[in-house]
Homo-oligomer: 167 residues x 4
Amino acid sequence: MKTKKERILEAAATLFAEHGFDKTAVATICELANVSKGLVYHHFKSKDEILIEIFEKSTSEMNSLGEDENTETPEMTIVDLIENIFFRLENNRQFFQMNLNIMFQPSTKKILERQIKKRATQLFDSVKALFNKTSPKKSGILSYVFISEIDGIALSYLSSFENYKND
Amino acid sequence: MKTKKERILEAAATLFAEHGFDKTAVATICELANVSKGLVYHHFKSKDEILIEIFEKSTSEMNSLGEDENTETPEMTIVDLIENIFFRLENNRQFFQMNLNIMFQPSTKKILERQIKKRATQLFDSVKALFNKTSPKKSGILSYVFISEIDGIALSYLSSFENYKND
Amino acid sequence: MKTKKERILEAAATLFAEHGFDKTAVATICELANVSKGLVYHHFKSKDEILIEIFEKSTSEMNSLGEDENTETPEMTIVDLIENIFFRLENNRQFFQMNLNIMFQPSTKKILERQIKKRATQLFDSVKALFNKTSPKKSGILSYVFISEIDGIALSYLSSFENYKND
Amino acid sequence: MKTKKERILEAAATLFAEHGFDKTAVATICELANVSKGLVYHHFKSKDEILIEIFEKSTSEMNSLGEDENTETPEMTIVDLIENIFFRLENNRQFFQMNLNIMFQPSTKKILERQIKKRATQLFDSVKALFNKTSPKKSGILSYVFISEIDGIALSYLSSFENYKND
DNA sequence: CATGAATGAGGGTTCATTCAT
DNA sequence: TATGAATGAACCCTCATTCAT
């Protein structure tokens, strides 16, 4: 059975994704998680801290993304990685949606400043490690372009989904 | 000299871009625009209406984008269009930033639902009109891919700018 | 008729004197003053600011204390001053009580740090001005002792009153 | 080694003196004393009880003040007593400070109503016993004046110390 | 067109206290 | 004794909106 702290985190993630961080009241999180307000502040110093913990959790999940990939050839690893991302994109839409929300909203961006930078660096480094094996000289620029492309695709995927879902 | 209404709109746009819609108090808009609260509610029915007006204004500016393009050949028009977009991206970063903010934040997305859809349709139609001249059969899919690409590029441009600006 | 702001100040002063600053809820002030919570925060930036304004008001009242005194001789002025203080002590017990409360409670003392110092300086200076006329060489030490004596008397007056009022 | 209960009492006294009773959270006492919240409520029925116990402890310390005095002549005893008080005032400033805090703050005054009265009576009686030996007829009024004077001096000592300590 | 006093609902946070372990 | 998760009431404060002037 889940601990109450986990339930809080889960409820918060759901609500942040659905209504945004600012529009989610702590009281609503409590209702969904079925805990008292006091408990939330027993486990988290503030509402901001909840967001930070969610974001950090998702970062470590992201990092475990490339670890167990096929390692026969670097090219195959990259292909696996891409497939993995698309698989997640389709099955974890809410997660990506929330990450976009968070990173493009000034208020949450400020709260997560450090965490966002850390994640960006980690992502870049691990992608670069892959490209180092295939084209060491251009690995930097390749990684940058690769990540940008993935972002662009994710963006258009999510936004087209969003824009037309009510038709 | 600018009308007071224009000053309100301008102040609001600046603040929405900088702090987000939710975190911008009407009182703060008043201060920046140097008007009273009463006046704001004389010109706009609600805070939401301010956002809507800003968004619609930016939509019509966007539409005027393709109108005065070079029309010698369709290909040249498209090239001009792209250049124009990049020019704006560089010189109007705040504007694009705010549009991303707005469109990826559940609360504002809901407010602007209709306007966002209208803009998406208009954009798609006008891009499609261009591709109709070059490849009528594939104009639909081409437009879709074209817009997605532009979005992706804009996204990566803005986010890389954001992520590294303090280094 | 009193302005609502004055009513707030008055209600707050009464309640601070009776229950102390920390134990007085803003909501209670509102009830007593018959205004909404919002109005309190329209006129005052915070609960602390209410306290500060009350204290500063009482400081200026204090200062006007020596101004209209009998000025035939300095000695008479001092005698008048003492009589005036005792008169106030008896008729304005609540006021002195609150001032003692405030100045001996760490939380409020911190809030009023600047104001307390300013008042102490002003009081000392104006008393010293009086003694300068009677004994210029010893005016400093005389003022200090004079003020201490008055304080001590006020303290014992108030505390004996407090300690035995329920017998 | 100190018992945990003693540690709680000590931590509480320190914090009450520094920040006042109301502004001291039980959680903070726990931190400083390095005990759990549960333990505090095992030893004390409530936060109020902690205050009461501290106050009563300080009362019995006060009473032991006159006991071991020089008893050659009543006059000498009184002189010794005064010296003793001044010695304590200088070396135990925090203790006196806290007592003033407590006794002039409506919320704590109410909690300690009984204890304050008891202490006042005891103090008065023991001072009166001394004066009975020197001037039995006026011992009552003498005791009253004597205590008031001491209070006044303590007050001015503490407040001048407070007001000028940061200069 | 213009002001700003006034409202009231709702938000984040704190904290004394309880209780199962 | 000893712990700390859990509760819930209360608190300070914010803010969109209205309205008399």
